[in-house]
């Protein structure tokens, strides 16, 4: 039986929580969906061994206390029409009907290939933080944190808090880029304070600017990394590497629905107007999926979307200048942490590019056409549906990503046969 909601919100991170709260505040019947077991998305992922930050707790409480918000956790979106979602919750399929949809799908980490990146023990940077928050036994382990962006400091701090020894933080941005970033932070005092607090929490941890990981070494698992620091190469023994080069919007659901995307950057994001409305009249989008901008713009945009989705235009309008201010931070991030070109050239012939199907860099050499490469090598045909390799290849300027078909995540076959979905002609 299909359930109907006035507003369905996809994603329960800062943007989705704000959207659900805003819409529900106008008495709409709201459904809030997330694939994780608990609310919070990535940035507010619950730490099983620590308390959630106050802002997160307030956001959770706001949503949990509203009886007109139905919460669907451990719920994966599989397919969509212009008024239905096919979802899977704990191996059970459901069709959810909606009048309005708010896409708060967030972002995933940009993972780029380098020799040894498939060794057990190599994590994304956000990946390491996620795993550790959910109980990964990191105490006593030696970890190198590398990649790009303020996220690295937050990751290193989390690791340290859980008993890891952070051997080094390697930020690829140059000292000059970092100084310019720090210099501009006065406009966002909270972020500046955050940065200072993080730096002090990481006192004693070697921090290298203009540094990146060239290779990971090990036998059955990671044993050491080779880093480039300025003009020098150095080998650092470690148990784990937490490496991430920024974030990429999760636009797959928006694309499946037919929302217009902005293709200006290397990775598309969803185009929205001032009310967070996409090119589809009944679909809104907020937060990272509209472009990487951080937690604050996500919360504000989520609220705008939630108000706009139920027609509360004044409430939405009132938040616009705050949204613009928050979004200026994302522009700052983009310029100050732009990637060193050498990081896109680390893969050698033997480096695996498609991790699901074991397709190496050299196997892709013969092809100038993305589809031909896929057909001949199976690159992108694995379980991740190209989310890792396809995104990396787009970042490396090699192939653009193709459009998605359902299922947008692997799904149980039983789910694909769910009786109510797409059963009535539009």
């Amino acid at each position: 039986m299909a359930e109907h909601y006035d507003v369905l919100v996809v994603g329960a991170g800062p943007a989705g929580l704000a959207a659900a709260d805003a819409a529900a505040g106008h008495c709409a019947r709201v459904g809030l969906l997330d694939a994780q077991a608990t609310l919070g998305g990535q940035v507010w992922r619950r730490d099983v061994r620590a308390e959630a930050p106050r802002m997160a707790r307030h956001a959770f409480h706001a949503v949990e206390s509203r009886t007109n918000i139905a919460r669907f956790t451990q719920t994966q979106i599989v397919a969509a029409t212009d008024n239905e979602l096919l979802v899977e919750q704990a191996a059970q399929a459901h069709t959810l009907r909606y009048d309005k949809l708010v896409l708060a799908c967030g972002a995933r980490e940009l993972l780029l290939p380098f020799p040894g990146w498939t060794l057990p023990g190599v994590f994304g940077a956000g990946g390491a933080q996620a795993l550790v928050k959910q109980g990964w036994p990191i105490a006593g382990k030696r970890v190198v944190v590398a990649g790009s962006g303020p996220l690295l400091l937050a990751v290193a701090a989390t690791l340290r808090k859980h008993g890891a020894s952070v051997a080094a933080i390697c930020e690829q941005a140059s000292a000059k880029q970092l100084a310019a970033f720090a210099g501009a932070l006065w406009r966002w005092p909270q972020k500046a304070a955050q940065a200072i607090a993080l730096r002090s929490a990481l006192a004693g941890v070697p921090y290298h600017a203009g540094a990146f990981v060239r290779a990971a070494h090990g036998d059955t698992q990671l044993r050491a990394v080779e880093v480039q620091i300025g003009k020098n190469r150095r080998r650092i023994d470690c148990d784990h590497l937490a490496v991430g080069y920024g974030l990429v919007p999760n636009v797959e659901l928006a694309q499946l629905l037919g929302c217009a995307l902005d293709h200006d950057g290397r990775h598309p994001c969803v185009e929205v107007d001032e009310d967070q409305r996409t090119s589809l009249a009944n679909v809104y989008a907020a937060g990272e999926v509209c472009g990487i901008g951080g937690r604050d713009s996500a919360r504000i945009e989520g609220a705008i979307a939630g108000h706009a989705a139920v027609g509360a235009t004044q409430a939405a309008q009132a938040l616009r200048s705050a949204q613009r201010h928050a979004r200026r931070f994302s522009a700052l991030l983009e310029t100050r942490f732009a990637l060193d070109a050498r990081i896109r050239e680390l893969a050698t012939d033997d480096t695996i590019i498609c991790r699901c199907e074991d397709v190496t860099w050299s196997a892709l050499n013969d092809f100038s056409d993305a589809r031909a490469a896929k057909l001949q090598t199976r690159c992108g045909m694995g379980a991740c549906q190209g989310r890792i390799c396809g995104t990396a290849l787009a970042e490396l300027g090699r192939f653009p990503r193709g459009g998605p078909r359902p299922p947008i995540f692997p799904a149980w076959l039983a789910t694909l046969a769910e009786a109510d979905f797409a059963s009535t002609p539009n």
Partner: protein
């Protein structure tokens, strides 16, 4: 840090482990092994993205294959197998 968290008991590759309530299966597996299966070329894999998009952490849980360990929360009595050997010969 909360050190009085309740613990969940489960088995990973036949080994009994205890994990905090709310922990992921990936975290429980890490107490026993770093490996979550092999790829066509034979290479071992382990969790990478921690957020359910890379599918490197697929394991068998209570007899059902290809569940993402990082997206699954531990349950009392769960049986996890990191190598998904075929059921039939």
């Amino acid at each position: 840090m909360n050190t009085t968290a309740k613990l969940v008991r489960l088995h990973v590759d036949g080994v009994a482990v205890e994990a905090p309530v709310g922990a992921s299966v990936a975290a429980a597996i890490a107490q026993v092994t770093l490996r979550c299966g092999r790829r066509p070329g034979g290479g071992a894999r382990a969790p990478l993205c921690g957020m359910g998009v890379c599918f490197e952490c697929r394991v068998r849980i209570d007899g059902i294959d290809h569940q993402r360990a990082c997206m699954t929360i531990v349950r009392e009595g769960m049986r996890v197998e990191t190598a998904m050997e075929p059921a039939h010969g």
